[in-house]
Symmetry: C2
Subunit: 432 residues, 2 copies
């Protein structure tokens, strides 16, 4: 495990010790890759070095795309041997990744449909004394859901690039049927293994022998997942008096331009179809400039003021300008320039501290099925934006989150739609 992450000190869970192989299992079109990628994004954001090893990609590299369903028949010797080779290669790479000092979590994404196959994985992981294995199985008892999944994602897969959609669906169904014949779900014989079974996207979850810090976070994360698309509209508070004076920290009111923005934002949201229909949530921080901004809105809900959404705490530098920092504490300025992500203001917070503090917000955003309007602050929105768009931690402190601009994010299966609307109220340019 890498040190220096949350606290510039030993990590709390570092004492738990083991590196983690997360193995996916389940029939095709059950959301395995979806969960693998989301978990990768979440864990990376928390600061764990995580990578996905997808068996299907190894297969496509090895034997190409456009393979007929028959090839996935367990009785097709050639297909079976090739698939086993791909699975072995992906597993070897996953374990090799964890053997490096960088790797914390390797996500092994494939069907892993038979007990024999899973035992092979268990054997490989338990041969490494500092690694543990956690299975995540996706089961769907709802056939309509599977049909929808195929139409939504599979027919646009590289495997079906030049195929007719209806034919592609038919072929995918056949491929599923091949797997179904020999699929052995996790159950009683696996009672000594660690696993999470996700049934019908979280309608039911079975947690078996879940121990340790990261497995606990993973389960908490999976509990909140759903696949209903809904937009998250985020923007910074209107321009504040400190923005005008180029000062950091503080709890200043809005400038006159900031008030103008708040009013324009209200008008914009009035015409915004996503937030007009049905229920919408309005979240903001406890700070004056954020409160003032939302006070102009006319949404059919009252704002929730989260302390966790307050701007990064700049500690002793509260009320200073960046030039003040540079002149009065050159050493601090230097440290910050060297590592803006992990730099912690004296008595204040670092971006990594902020990510820790924002984790409950991410959980609530994931859980929520309604559109959310979130009025926040520059550093806070950088962290949230990076989570949804999968930007790396190193980029976080440098992301462009301008004043007076609404960023609409809609999480989709494998990516996040983004739309930026700059309202016509030119603010000062703020330092970062």
């Amino acid at each position: 495990m890498s040190f220096e992450i949350f606290t510039n000190d030993t990590l709390p869970h570092q004492q738990d010790g083991k590196k983690l192989v997360l193995g996916l299992t389940g029939l095709p079109a059950r959301g395995k890759t979806y969960m693998a990628r989301k978990l990768c994004r979440y864990l990376s954001w928390l600061g764990f070095s995580t990578e996905v090893f997808n068996i299907g990609n190894y297969r496509r590299d090895k034997v190409g795309v456009n393979i007929p369903a028959e090839w996935f028949d367990q009785n097709n010797e050639e297909g079976r041997a090739a698939r086993d080779q791909c699975a072995d290669a992906a597993l070897a790479d996953a374990i090799a990744f964890l053997k490096t000092s960088e790797g914390d979590v390797a996500i092994y994404d494939g069907t892993n449909c038979t007990r024999a196959r899973r035992q092979k994985v268990e054997a490989a992981v338990s041969a490494e004394s500092d690694m543990q294995l956690l299975w995540i199985e996706s089961e769907c008892t709802n056939e309509e859901l599977v049909e929808l999944n195929i139409r939504q994602t599979k027919i646009s897969s590289p495997d079906y690039k030049h195929k007719d959609p209806q034919q592609a669906v038919e072929d995918y169904r056949q491929r599923i049927a091949q797997y179904q014949q020999y699929y052995e779900p996790l159950g009683e014989p696996d009672r000594l293994s660690s696993f999470v079974k996700v049934i019908n996207i979280g309608e039911q979850l079975v947690l078996n022998r879940i121990h340790g810090f990261i497995p606990g976070r993973i389960v908490a994360f999976l509990m909140n997942l759903h696949t209903i698309p809904r937009p998250i509209l985020m923007c910074r508070h209107g321009e504040s008096e400190y923005n005008v004076e180029n000062k950091i920290g503080g709890d200043p009111p809005l400038s006159s331009r900031g008030v103008l923005f708040a009013k324009r934002l209200a008008d914009y949201l009035d015409t915004c179809s996503e937030v007009k229909e049905g229920s919408v949530r309005l979240w903001t921080s406890t700070m004056q400039r954020a409160r003032e901004t939302v006070s102009h809105l006319r949404l059919p809900t009252s704002p929730v003021h989260w302390k966790a959404l307050d701007e990064i705490n700049v500690g002793m530098c509260d009320g200073w300008s960046y030039e003040d920092v540079e002149h009065r504490m050159p050493q601090e300025h230097h440290l910050r320039t060297k590592n803006k992500l992990r730099y912690r203001y004296p008595r204040g917070e670092s971006y990594m501290d902020l990510i820790q503090r924002l984790e409950p917000i991410i959980f609530e955003l994931e859980r929520c099925r309604d559109p959310v309007v979130l009025v926040g602050h520059q550093a806070v929105l950088r962290c949230l934006y990076a989570y949804f768009t999968g930007r790396s931690l190193d980029e976080v402190p440098h992301l462009d989150i301008p004043l007076h601009t609404i960023i609409q994010l809609t999480p989709r299966t494998y990516h996040c739609d983004e739309n930026r609307v700059a309202l016509d109220v030119a603010p000062v340019k703020t330092d970062t």
Copy 2:
């Protein structure tokens, strides 16, 4: 739901809306009352007004103690009618509690062993439009565990006050056998209900249709539970220079007496059998006075520095004395005196903010099976102490956590053992 809790504003989960009935179910001696009480303590600490309604207590009130096992036979008409009456009375009280403006969560603690009984509860709860029901079932497939449970708790129950222990165990086994005949565990027919099934103290958990903020917290809490007793040794950092000068906030070093305490603490822990044997954890904050205190210890582990353990942030009053606050901001001083629990320092935190921030620490403390040595701060330790000893929120800001005193807490089934050791280094008396 009561407002003004975490943020002095709308509660995040307030938008979820419904009040919660938590129904326990399972055979006797399965830890139902244990979980009911722990959840009550946890939820109350978070700020939800929670009460337990225990059917057994209603029975003891109605028909007294020392009832033979035969009375619990489902074919014993008289016993059955009386038990149903008690169950109905407890349920009515639970719902009445939620109908008051105060009640947030009612925990309905009984065996609720038959589907018919549970349907009656479901009907009563769904008759109230603003209430929802969540079942928590405890199942044990491990007979030794049940035997241990009976010996640990049942023979000291009021039901067996004047009985011979061996006879009491025999009687309790018979009582369990009576229930076993007609016990219908949660399963397929309950797939539309919300429930959590806890198998063998968390070896496996089944989560069914868990939605909403509080149900999510409850599940996260239950995931960490175990029943292995182990001590938590907590103390404040040694006396700091600010303690001597009677100032609040800041990040001062230890005074010379503070250093002396740190050394004595090291000696004390050297002789302390609980932390000498096997693995022990050492947790502290990121603040200088805490770091200096642990730097003298000789534990076989390195300290984990949690930012979440930092002392309450007093915002603008950082570095002031209480007299300064009183003279320079009399209005703030007045507000604080009026409601010390919810009072938030300008730009700083309230005790309720602190509790929110400490929730992950409580989860990690619950999860941990090793002894923990925790070097913290006055306000932080007040919150943690209140959680373990079940003190009410109103008491939190006034709890006595003196300097240079080790508080050893060992959570037991129905209470928490406490032992205080004042080391012989007289500190100044600190204000609060």
